[in-house]
Symmetry: C2
């Protein structure tokens, strides 16, 4: 892993992903007392940063592997992302989804050409179903966050941000399974000028915060957060990167997440999902830390299910 790993990845995936815009907001800057730039991965293909890693992982397979397809288990954005990436590259994607996954997510996977395999809504069932498919089809399992090719792919969002904004003091990203924050940390390490990486994490699922304290991968006892992309825990590939390259993790409450999301919708006029708002919530919470600093924020995605009942 060096600078070129990230640059090669970016070159490899560029035909398949959007170079997303970087936004800023005077009124949010005033509120935070900081100079913030937002990398808008809500405008990425599939509505989140995740296709970056999915495309890279598939393109890093041998031709023979590609012919047999790829498999993952996910109920969220990575299911869509792998399906989208596989569809673009012409590879079969098998997506193991819990039977209670929202129909809108299943539809998105199918639209992109992925094959859904339903299973019971437990991690054990998802893993054993994915293992069965690997065995039967020879497809390659791709983990949503604990895979080096995925991690490097996710880091390209921060790489692009640093190409446009070279003098960031901080980059802040949400922490869920650890793929995005690990990739972000690698990009900041290799391409930032002393740019520190801070994670934002809901208090309700603060496994990463506790993992960095204890020095081993911790689990969550509940999954009770509105930030549904951040419920998963770290893995053995991304945790060492966090230990080495993440300065700190700021924990935020559910109401801080909701308030940050409201501010982004209201002031920036863009739709982000709750997980995305966690990074802004962290900056607003630790005001003294970020005051007068130039801060990059990764807005990770914008997949919100709007089902208006009557008038919104």
């Amino acid at each position: 892993m060096d600078k070129d790993t990230l640059l090669d990845c970016h070159r490899r995936i560029s035909p398949h992903i959007h170079r997303t815009p970087v936004f800023s907001s005077r009124s949010l800057n005033r509120m935070a007392g900081a100079d913030m730039v937002f990398k808008c991965e809500n405008f990425q293909r599939g509505g989140s940063f995740k296709p970056r890693g999915a495309v890279n992982a598939i393109l890093c397979l041998t031709e023979e592997q590609q012919e047999k397809g790829v498999v993952t288990h996910s109920s969220g954005n990575f299911a869509q992302a792998l399906s989208l990436a596989a569809g673009r590259i012409g590879v079969q994607a098998y997506i193991v989804m819990p039977s209670n996954a929202p129909q809108v997510k299943k539809n998105a996977v199918m639209e992109y050409g992925g094959e859904i395999i339903e299973c019971d809504p437990t991690l054990a069932a998802r893993e054993s179903e994915a293992a069965r498919i690997v065995k039967e089809t020879g497809a390659t399992f791709i983990h949503p966050s604990n895979d080096m090719d995925v991690i490097v792919g996710q880091g390209t969002a921060c790489l692009e941000l640093l190409e446009e904004e070279q003098n960031l003091h901080y980059v802040v990203a949400p922490v869920g399974g650890g793929g995005l924050i690990a990739g972000t940390a690698l990009a900041a390490y290799y391409f930032g000028k002393g740019c520190a990486v801070v994670g934002g994490e809901p208090i309700a699922v603060d496994d990463a915060y506790r993992s960095l304290k204890s020095g081993k991968i911790e689990s969550n006892k509940t999954t009770d957060t509105i930030a549904d992309g951040l419920k998963t825990q770290l893995g053995d590939k991304n945790f060492p990167i966090l230990q080495k390259h993440v300065e700190s993790i700021v924990r935020v409450t559910e109401s801080e997440i909701i308030e940050a999301m409201r501010l982004i919708w209201e002031r920036m006029k863009i739709v982000v999902e709750p997980s995305s708002a966690v990074a802004l919530a962290a900056v607003l919470k630790e005001r003294e830390k970020f005051e007068n600093q130039k801060v990059g924020i990764i807005l990770s995605g914008g997949n919100v299910d709007f089902r208006f009942k009557g008038r919104p």
Copy 2:
């Protein structure tokens, strides 16, 4: 009024307004069967297209007039817009607002430095209060939509769109007081290549549709629409422009407006207000008309009051 009126206006106001981006969406194009480009005035200063006209109207005043300030009555985006424009140019703005206007709108006016004068929530009270201020202060009254400088200013959104997308078959904009659609029609007439202008209007407040049919300015009997920017009626300055340069008006139901708004939020990941969604609703409704055509859509604004009660 000729080409240069619009070009001069655009040059005049450019230091004070954003050149807003033009977005497109593959999935919305598939749904409409058309090639649509969206001019994103939700990203304009003040959250709507209205500062374009407000800035132009103020800059067209003499120095002596500017010293005495400007006045308008509005409970919506024009109150914010005139206040913002006046603040940037260094002119006093008096904003007559009904006493029941939402606090969030009053706050926005005050943040930009405008002075709010409250009155009873009737059109008669608003008009007489504005007249009193004109008499007492010598300030110039600026109408939100029935003023040629305002109309030309609003037309610059379409002018910018046509600079980037020269071969539009149609431009579609919402119709409220008539300022935006009239300005859009002038821009399309002078700078489009046979570009037809279509208005979108809620059936509940279809005064413009009926006015074009009857040949005289009609009123609305109700104001019962979610598209709260479109309740007002046409005026003697903009109506003749509509008669000459607007091809037709497509009327849409409340549920079509809500569905179009949902699609924009969900697929484009941007926040637009209901009035903005009326134009897309019109395109989706008249599918045969717009099929396989290149269609510009003016997304007029994104001022939505998000007050989440608990989890959204």
